[in-house]
């Protein structure tokens, strides 16, 4: 199977999954007890106002029709109107998406820069002092609650030294330096435990590769240990490393909710949480689907990349 056919097949499989996700998101929001119109307007609302809102948001129509109307809108990028401010939700998401994407990508970079060397340090010599230290760091890292790390970084770095801001956001187009200053602590917060996961996996992948015949042969022919590691071990260990980095990047989209809240970043994650707390269900519905779809997209790209690097995966 060629890489293109493989990619096309993976894409086709994503369609039913995306439809399933839309049904779940839609259904979930209809499970909320009580009348959403009453929830929004409050119990003192007049029956006329409730009826008007129900009509405006098509809440008076049968569920399948409501679902199809919503899905049709979503397919055209129209996520409907926000219950509270009557703003188009699609626009709101589009305004906040760049923040979340930048945060996630920066965090993925930080995770790779910390995680891969951590794993190489350990995997290079099994059982040595460096290996044990990297194992311990990895174990502590995966147990680290990210929101606590964020609070600690604010306490020690922002409030302690005043070097970096603890909240707020400046767009990249306005000032790249200030943008980075506002994102570096959130990115470290989001990256830390994922870097530890990546480090543990890198170590396992390196150890697995070192056992192979071609590495033993490279060593036997007298190649320097550094050359063995970088020329033979790392390229072969890269496949699982890339896969896990991709999966971890997807999980960071979920973690962004927590990190954006701590550092008051105007991203989609915080928008989701605010909407949940305000019971603004059309917004929750929209952001859930968008974050879910991005999560799926990242996983899909990882899958395809995996198939491109390793032809064995493409075999049906």
């Amino acid at each position: 199977m060629s890489a293109w056919v493989y990619a096309a097949r993976r894409l086709m499989l994503a369609v039913p999954l995306l439809l399933g996700m839309s049904v779940l998101v839609f259904g979930l929001m209809r499970l909320v007890p009580g009348d959403p119109a009453v929830t929004v307007l409050g119990y003192k609302a007049t029956p006329e106002a409730v009826r008007a809102l129900r009509e405006a948001f098509h809440l008076d129509q049968p569920l399948p029709r409501q679902y199809l109307a919503w899905l049709g809108g979503v397919a055209r990028g129209d996520f409907g109107l926000d219950f509270r401010q009557n703003e188009p939700i699609g626009r709101m998401i589009l305004d906040r998406l760049p923040v979340t994407l930048e945060l996630t990508l920066l965090a993925a970079l930080v995770a790779a820069l910390i995680g891969v060397p951590l794993g190489l340090l350990g995997g290079g010599r099994r059982g040595g002092a460096a290996d044990r230290a990297s194992l311990a760091v990895g174990l502590l890292g995966v147990s680290l609650p990210d929101f606590w790390l964020g609070i600690m970084l604010i306490l020690l770095v922002s409030l302690g030294t005043g070097l970096l801001p603890s909240s707020g956001f400046v767009p990249f187009t306005e000032s790249p330096l200030e943008n980075l200053q506002h994102l570096i602590l959130p990115a470290i917060t989001l990256a830390a435990s994922r870097a530890a996961v990546l480090g543990r996996l890198t170590r396992a992948a390196v150890l697995d590769t070192v056992r192979r015949g071609f590495v033993q042969y490279a060593r036997a022919k007298g190649l320097a240990e550094r050359a063995v590691l970088f020329r033979h071990v790392l390229p072969n260990a890269a496949i699982p490393i890339v896969t896990v980095l991709g999966l971890q990047t997807g999980y960071m989209l979920g973690g962004a909710i927590v990190v954006e809240t701590i550092f008051t970043l105007p991203g989609v994650g915080r928008m989701t949480l605010d909407a949940v707390l305000e019971r603004n269900y059309p917004v929750v519905q929209g952001t859930l689907l968008v974050i879910g779809a991005m999560f799926m997209l990242v996983n899909l790209l990882t899958d395809i990349l995996y198939g491109v690097i390793d032809p064995r995966v493409r075999k049906p």
């Binding site: 399933g20 995966v142 147990s143 609070i151 997807g250 909710i257 707390l277 999560f295």
Partner: protein, 278 residues
């Protein structure tokens, strides 16, 4: 046994698993005996003690309402561990049989069970948990149920994979040839041999459950105050972190310790029971 051999034995996976088990055991014990060992109430307000720093009597200090942080941490473990055990048990109870059927039958039943579960796994866990909490409302029991929904597909996948791997073994064929019924085959031969990955996964899920419960409570969509919860304590402590850093330091360390215990148990078990261990 020589000293070297002894060292190797306890430095290996058994040691890690055992250390994790001891850590978890100690925390469970502390949580169970909380009222007996710490007579102070976790919810009694004493304004004149507000924001008092750590002392010998109160090593974790007092919070903004004069409540003992140590007492609250220990009581909060009841919620943390209760939610973790509840959610994982529920997920095993629902996801286990689903995975068993999917893995044993394969074909159409497999597709019917696994494809809908794929949809649940298509969302980041914390996002799905927040969405479920927004539907269910807040409270410890509801956090358990939400987490169980999030974990059910994970458990089902692990059980399914383990069953598929175990059912082609020769001893299963042998039992079948001897006329074993399907339930006997599954419960007596396949499941016991698929237990290791399930046990490891359960331990990992416990660790994640503690983290997610704390995150949800921190974000205001988890446990309801005044129930002491580690996440809620961190959320409260944020407003006072300059005057009273102990309000954020100790609850965070407490979360990490519990998560570390379960992760060590999972790591140790995985390596210890791994037949390919070098």
């Amino acid at each position: 046994m020589t000293r070297g051999a002894l060292q190797r034995r306890w430095a290996g996976p058994q040691g890690v698993a055992l250390a994790g088990l001891c850590l978890v055991g100690a925390l469970v014990l502390a949580a169970l005996c909380a009222p007996a060992i710490l007579p102070g109430s976790p919810t009694a307000i004493a304004k004149d003690h507000a924001l008092r720093g750590p002392t010998v009597a109160e090593p974790f200090g007092m919070d903004d309402l004069g409540r003992s942080v140590l007492s609250r941490v220990v009581h909060a473990y009841r919620v943390s561990l209760g939610v973790a055990v509840g959610s994982v048990a529920l997920a095993l109870l629902i996801g286990g049989p689903l995975g068993l059927i999917a893995g044993y039958a394969e074909g159409v039943p497999d597709q019917l069970i696994m494809r809908p579960l794929d949809v649940l796994m298509a969302f980041p866990a914390i996002l799905l948990a927040i969405a479920l909490m927004s539907v269910f409302g807040t409270g410890a029991a509801l956090v358990s149920i939400s987490l169980a929904v999030v974990y059910t597909p994970v458990v089902a996948r692990v059980v399914r994979a383990a069953v598929i791997a175990a059912k082609v073994e020769v001893y299963v064929d042998g039992a079948r040839a001897l006329g074993a019924t399907v339930p006997r085959l599954v419960l007596g031969h396949i499941l016991p041999n698929a237990a290791t990955p399930i046990l490891v996964q359960a331990s990992v899920l416990m660790a994640i459950a503690i983290l997610v419960e704390a995150s949800l409570s921190f974000l205001g969509v988890g446990v309801r105050p005044p129930t002491p919860s580690l996440g809620l304590m961190l959320a409260d402590g944020r407003s006072f972190m300059l005057q009273a850093p102990w309000m954020v330091v100790f609850p965070g360390l407490a979360i990490m310790l519990a998560v570390l215990g379960f992760n060590m148990m999972a790591d140790g078990l995985r390596d210890w029971l791994d037949p390919d261990r070098p």
